[in-house]
Structure formats: C-alpha cells, structure tokens
Symmetry: C2
Subunit: 505 residues, 2 copies
C-alpha cells in the first residue's frame, strides 16, 4: 500500500469530508479508487501511538494542486483526523457504513427501532454519509410514515448524537414555531419580555431551512449568534436569555447535517419536523416549550385537521422524552409584519420593541399572546393574566432595554445598509387583499437573495385586510444585484395566485 504525506487543503466543504489524491497516485498506486468513491485515510498519531482515521469522498486532482505523494484533506476532514501537516498516512477504498442498508430498508417500508436509528444517526453525525445517502434518509422520512414508537426512537437517537446544555433551576422556557410563515419573528420580542419577568430563556434557533430568513439569520443582523456553550451560559447568566444559533453548539449534530440536504430540497416532513424540533429543545436544556403551529392554505400546515394531528404527535413524543409542551395553533392568511428577509425582519422587530406608531400590529399581538401563554404555563402569571403582564413589559420599554442588553451580551453588530437594487410590484386589480401566498412570497424573497444576502428580501406595503387600487404598489423587492432583482421580479410576474382579493372565489 502506498504512503502519502498529509496536506491540509484550506477548503470549507460544509460538513462533508473531502479527500484529494493526485491522478498519478490513483492510476499507479493500485488503490483501486475512482472519483467520488468513499475513501479512508489513516495514520498513527506519534504522540499517543493511536491510529486515527477518517472516511470521506474522493476527488482526484492533477498537477498544480498536490504532488503525487501527497493526500489533501478539506478543513473538517483535516481537523477530524487530527494529525499534523506532513504526517505519514495511508489511504484505501472504504465501503458505505452498514447502516445505509437500514435506510434502504426504511425506503422500502421497514419499521425501524431505537438501535437502528442509533446506528444511522451515529454514522451521520460522524460524517460517514455522503450527500446522496443523506438525501435517501431524508426522503425515506418523507415517504414512509413513522409511527409513534419510531418517532420517539428517532428523536431519542437524535438527542444522543450530541451535547446537552443544562441550566440550574426547575424551569427553562422555550418557544418554537414550525415555520412556513414569513416574517414571523416573535422570538426576538418574546425572549426579552420573558427574561425581564424572571424566566430563563436560552433560545437557540436554526438558520433558515426552507424560508427566506430564520430567527438565527435575523438576529445575526443585529448581534453575534454563533455562541460557544461557554459564552451562551455566560450570556444567559448575565441577562436571563439569548437568541443564539444552534448550529455552533453541537446540539443534536446529526440534525444539522440532515438540514444541509433538506435546505436545497425545500421539503418539510412530519417526522423530521417533530424529531428535529423536540431533539433541539431537549438538548438545549428546555423544560417548558410552547410550539406555534400556523395554519393556512399557503402555510406548511394547510388544515385544522392536520394541525390537530401534528399537535398530537408533538404532545405524545414530548411526554415520552420528558418535555412539558403546549401547542398554539395560529391563523396564517399571509406573512406577519412588513419585512421578509433578515434585515427587513429585524427592522420590524425593533419597531415593535420600540413601540413605534407604525410598528406591525400583527407581529406585536402574536408575540404578546405567545409570551402570555408561556408566562401562564410556567406559573409566572396566573391563568388569563399572562398577556397583560407581557403587554406592560413591552409598553414600558423594559423589553427593549432587555433586548439591548442581550444584543450587547452576545456582541452587537452594525446593521447592514439597505439593499441597493429595489423595485415596486404593483397590484393587478383593485380590491381588498384577502390572502398573500406565504410560499410564493418567500420564493420571491429567496430569489432576491435572502437569507444569504442579509439586506435582500421583500418589503410589504400592504397586509391582508388592506384595500388597494389597481396599479398601487403592494411590495418592494430588495436585492444586492440587478440580476437578482430581475430574477425575483420575473418569478413574481410568473406566479399565479400570489394574492387573493376578497371578491375572488
């Protein structure tokens, strides 16, 4: 077998191990390796005498990148192997982890148990799955319904793949929205209210998965969100709460890896939703969690019946993994607030916290209602007094001050400039707006560049219930480049039924 010198290739491949070998070594080294094969790289750690190894996806290079006796590893692969640059290593063909057979069996309809999920998710968390295999698992979750025992086992196995945060005290409050409604940034208003009223609220959010902005993306406009566990503990200790990005915490890391393929798929599945949310809440140390399920014809959940079904799954799995849950089923006729996209949504949040006259009333009311429910379910306020307590805290300016302290504790950031390319989109008819399609308006914001471009997105002039004249602007598209503006406009013009008017059938 051929020996190689290890070389770090400074390539960030986002949770995939990439291994690069020179074509001459591949051809003459009798390695039997081809591009995209799964390869194994291994060597002895001189200090401990222990053999270290990683597996990854093979890329083949020619002159100019590596010498024929070198093996190159991308950032994460190099880091995970843990051997120094120049170390002597060897390489061989590796086969798919055996647990991929369980994924294939699931695709064909087999019932999986706790040990099966442990095997799959341990391999996923160790980066042993290729993107194709990850896609198979995610689509298996989408096509083959999980029963309650599978869903519980899946969630427990997900929890077991990573760290778990612990905060002293019997009550750690948390809130989660299943998503699908753009602009729904209640977390950033509710966390300072609850923290101000004495609750511990260490909120960890994801970046956007299928939406133009997640809470993580929106908070990132104003503050640092990639907190290490130590920094997160200090922030919560100091100001009672935080709004951090979960991805930096290694909580349920298998979940973050699955999200890397779910994001381009734009597919949400029931099993993944329940397991992902509850595993994240549990590992983030929560004890009392309020789940917001928006229902509407263009939201993720289209009917009250399906909301009921999903609520039942959340409650049942929550009980089995030891979480106190409540569900808030909310109505979604369109986006919440005016902004869609990280910067524009952050402006809405600040406007509500500052109690400005033009602040979006829907965002304010929903945040107060959810804060009230959490104050009641944690016993901070008696029944039917939660909303009022939340409102007082917001209107007194105390919530805004608390929010500023949270931002400072996490590390304040300068708000990005408005996007340079903007264009209005006008109403094609006169009438009262009865509905704005959540999915389509999200796609427009995404084509404009959100959430990757923090300033890109859509700014609504009108909300559901407003009356417009023909030709009156309904929203403005914001983009960082003319090409993106055009792509978003083109998409907006191609969509049927972006808006429904009251006289529509």
């Amino acid at each position: 077998m051929t020996h190689f010198r290890l070389r770090h290739l400074p390539l960030d491949t986002l949770r995939e191990h990439v291994i690069v070998i020179h074509e001459r070594a591949v051809r003459h080294g009798n390695l039997g390796l081809h591009p995209l094969d799964r390869a194994r790289v291994f060597g002895i750690d001189r200090q401990s005498g222990v053999q270290r190894e990683i597996t990854g996806v093979l890329n083949v290079c020619s002159d100019g990148l590596l010498e024929a006796d070198e093996i190159g590893l991308s950032d994460e692969a190099f880091h995970d192997l843990g051997l120094p640059d120049g170390a002597e290593v060897r390489a061989s063909l590796a086969v798919a982890p055996l647990s991929v057979d369980l994924v294939r069996a699931k695709l064909r309809g087999r019932h999986l148990g706790r040990r099966d999920f442990d095997a799959i998710l341990t391999d996923v968390a160790a980066r042993r799955y290729s993107r194709v295999e990850l896609s198979m698992f995610v689509l298996g979750c989408a096509f083959q319904k999980f029963d309650l025992s599978e869903l519980t086992d899946f969630t427990l196995a997900m929890i077991a793949t990573g760290e778990q945060l612990t905060f002293g005290g019997p009550i750690v409050a948390d809130k989660h929205c299943i998503g699908g409604v753009p602009g729904n940034r209640t977390t950033m208003i509710l966390v300072p209210i609850l923290a101000e009223l004495g609750l511990k609220v260490p909120k960890t959010s994801s970046r956007a998965i299928t939406s133009p902005a997640g809470t993580g993306d929106t908070m990132a406009v104003l503050a640092d969100v990639a907190l290490s566990p130590d920094r997160l503990y200090r922030v919560v200790e100091e100001v009672g709460g935080c709004i951090a990005w979960g991805g930096a915490l290694e909580l349920a890391p298998a979940d973050d890896i699955l999200i890397t393929v779910e994001r381009p798929m734009e597919i949400d599945t029931e099993a993944r939703m329940v397991a992902s949310i509850l595993a994240k809440k549990k590992t983030a140390g929560a004890t009392h969690v309020l789940i917001d399920i928006p229902v509407g014809s263009s939201a993720k959940v289209k009917t009250p019946e399906f909301a009921e079904h999903l609520s039942g799954l959340f409650m049942a799995v929550g009980e089995r993994i030891g979480l106190r849950l409540e569900i808030a089923t909310t109505q979604a006729l369109g986006p919440i607030g005016y902004g869609i996209g990280p910067r524009l949504e952050a402006l809405d949040v600040l406007s509500v916290l500052r109690c400005e006259p033009g602040a979006p009333a829907d965002l304010r009311e929903k945040s107060l209602m959810l804060a009230g429910r959490l104050l009641e379910m944690t016993g901070v306020e008696p029944a039917s007094r939660g909303y009022e307590a939340a409102r007082r805290t917001l209107d007194s300016g105390a919530a805004l001050k608390r929010f500023d302290r949270i931002v400072d504790a996490q590390g304040r950031r300068e708000m990005p400039a408005p996007a340079p390319w903007r264009r209005n989109f006008a109403s094609g008819q006169a009438g009262m707006i009865a509905q704005i399609d959540c999915w389509q308006i999200s796609r427009i914001a995404k084509r404009a560049g959100a959430p990757s471009n923090a300033s890109a997105g859509v700014k609504l002039y009108k909300s559901v219930g407003d009356t417009v004249m023909r030709g009156e602007p309904i929203f403005e598209i914001h983009a960082e480049s003319d090409a993106q503006l055009q792509a978003a406009l083109e998409y907006a013009n191609s969509v049927r039924r972006l808006l429904r008017y009251a006289e529509d059938s």
Copy 2:
C-alpha cells in the same frame, strides 16, 4: 459587484461543477454567498464578445489555495465556462433551476409530460442540478410510478439530451441484460459470434451501477473501453463489433449523470431501468435489441409476474420510440460462471471463448442461446437454427479469433495480476446447493473492492446444483488489501441465507 481572476483548479469532481472563492472575498465582497450555495460565474469571451457562464456548487477556501481576488473552477466547470486562465470574471448567487419545482411536484405525485421531462433533463445534462437535487429526482422515479405516456416521454427526453450514433445498413444488433446476476458476462461472448456471422454489433455498456462489475468494467481488464465516437466507428468498421463504455460517448448524458447518484444508492427503479436502457440503445444506433430479464428470488426481478409486467413496459416503450425488441426471460438461481469482479469475470469469458474443458457451462449456454435469438430475430438464421449457428462459430475458434481482433482494435491491455489477499469461505453444512443469493454475494465482492479494484471479487468453487461437505470451501475472496479482505469476510459471516441447500425449507 466584485471582479475576480479566473483560475483553473485541477480537480476532477466527476460531473459536478465546483466553484471555489476565498473566504475574505465571500465576507467582504457583499456577494451574499455561503458554502454549498449555488453560484454563477460569468465573463465575456474576448474573441467572440459573447458572455459565457456556468453555475456550480460553492466551496470556500482560506489562504494557501487561492488569492482573495481569484475564483477557482474544477476541471469540468473550467472547461464548460471556456474562458482562459486569468480571465476577468464575476460571480453571483444563483437559484435552483425552475425545473426542480417539477421534481418536487413529481415527488408529490404529479403526472409529468414531455416538456416537463425536457426541462428537467436539459438542466441535468447541463450540470445545473446539485447531487441532492439529482437524488430527489431519482427517488421521485422510485416512489411515484410512471404510466406509459410518462415513461415514453421520459425516454424521448433522455434521448434528446445527447448525441446519436448512426451506422449504415438496416440492421444494427444489440443485447442488454437488466442486471442483478453477478458474472453474467454473455455480451463479451455474443458480440464476437454475431460479428463473425456478419451482423453489426456496436455494443456500448455501462460501468457497474449497483453490481460488482459491469460489462464495461470487465472488458476494461482486457482492452481500452473509453472510445470516442470516431474510434468506435473505426473499430466497428474494421471488425464488425465492439464492447465499449458508453460513458465516453455522450449518449444520453443526463442518464450518466443520474447514474452518479444511483450507484451509491444501490436502488434500481422500474422507470429508470426502462428509460435508461432504451435511451442508451436508441442513441447507440441499435435497431434490433434483445433484452435479458433474469428472474430469481435474489435477482432484481423476483417473480415471473413482475418479469411479465416489465417486458410489457419495454415492448410498449420500444415500439413508441422505434426499436424492434425481443425479451428473453431467464432463470437466476445464483451467479453465472465462477468469477465475480472484473478480472475474475474476464477469466471466465476467455475460458468459454477458448472452449476450455473447465469453462463455465452456464455462461456458455446462456451466451449461445441469446446469440441464437438475435441471429433469428435479425433474419441471419431461420427460426430454430440460431443456436446451432452460434455454437459452431464458438466451437470452431472463430469467435475467439474475432474477439482477439476486437480487443486489438480497441487497444489491448495487460491483464492485471491476481489480487494478493485471498481467503476461502467454507460451507457451514453438508448438502446440495439449491441457491446462491445474488445480492449478498455481490455485496461481498464489492466489500472486497470490486469493481474499483479490478482484481478484487469472489471466485466460486461451487455452483447451484453442486453437493458440498461441511467445511468444504465454497468460494474464495480476492482483495487488494488485508483490510478489504477482512471487511468482505466479516460481511460474509454476518449474512444469513447466503446459500440455500436442497433440504432447506
């Protein structure tokens, strides 16, 4: 927008466009790009004045690979962009092609038409799909059954993505096995027989998709198989037939790209099978095609009823796209011949062509039967005289001589040495072998390194129908490394029902 200098990164990423940008450019360039985003790179060709562009997957690098003002493109991306090293280019965020929405719709059960498939496969062939999106499409084909009109449209759209070979004359013969039976290398025996009897047989085969060796891999042990269209025409002109690898010919290129994700999935789907095979035969210029469908409990097709169903699909689509088809339904109780893996299967083929006393009778008989059918369906021989004509051609040594001429015309290669690591696997009981599990024995050969390691695989000592004593060796595993030998042995020992004996229920 930022300008970059183009740089060719000599990285072979196998049909995926990879774009690399320095992290400083990503952070400060207001590009709004993140690792794994889809990016667009574009610039003006100085000679023609035309704008050229490609899209690809973004990887982010730090110092040591690129300067902050450079943009790196992998081999295929650089080649497809067609601008010189050092050219001025720009980059922006790109969105998924609109046709991915059609894939999502198919996953939810929508019926697709010719224009939908054209849109999808054009984007696939242009490398606009990420591996995750390709996986979605393949699994959509697996989960949502295609009706006959979809299957025909899918096949026609597949054909339209690439070149089409044309050979003079009214008859171009071809044969294809749907696979699933290891060692089934009848093509390499049948092609020289048919060519010797005056038929044009320009056979193009795939590399192994889900098996330990395809005909392409096995022929590659003896001869060059990556023929350009020009070379292929010359070989067929000179010796009447060839056994080439289809991948080098750009026939139905969308199919080859889909195969890059199907191979690691180890999933065969009915729609993909029919469309892939018939599109490849049509674009390779065939007029008369015999399709071999092996049926057996461990083969791809498990029941005669399913074979019947599949035959119906092949015949119906074949007729609609203008191919004369016949189906040979064959029995599969275990592998054919003794070897599994490219080198070991090539040895079986040579042994049959040389009419050696120990040559595998099953491989010989099946090849003669299929050759006979093709001789009759093309009218070279009258009904029920094909087999006899084929047998004479083989036994006279004429087929061997023709095979040698084909090998020389394609470019003879030196047979690789036997694999250095070998170990016997013994029978756990005495009895008559009634069945050898095709799928499991293939997995053993693959874990030993086949087909990437050409000498790796399994050499059977016993076939179905043989009687063994307890402890008697049934097969030998061949591997290039001890680790692969151990992996294959471990797998062999873990499998239940690898063999069935006559007294088994």
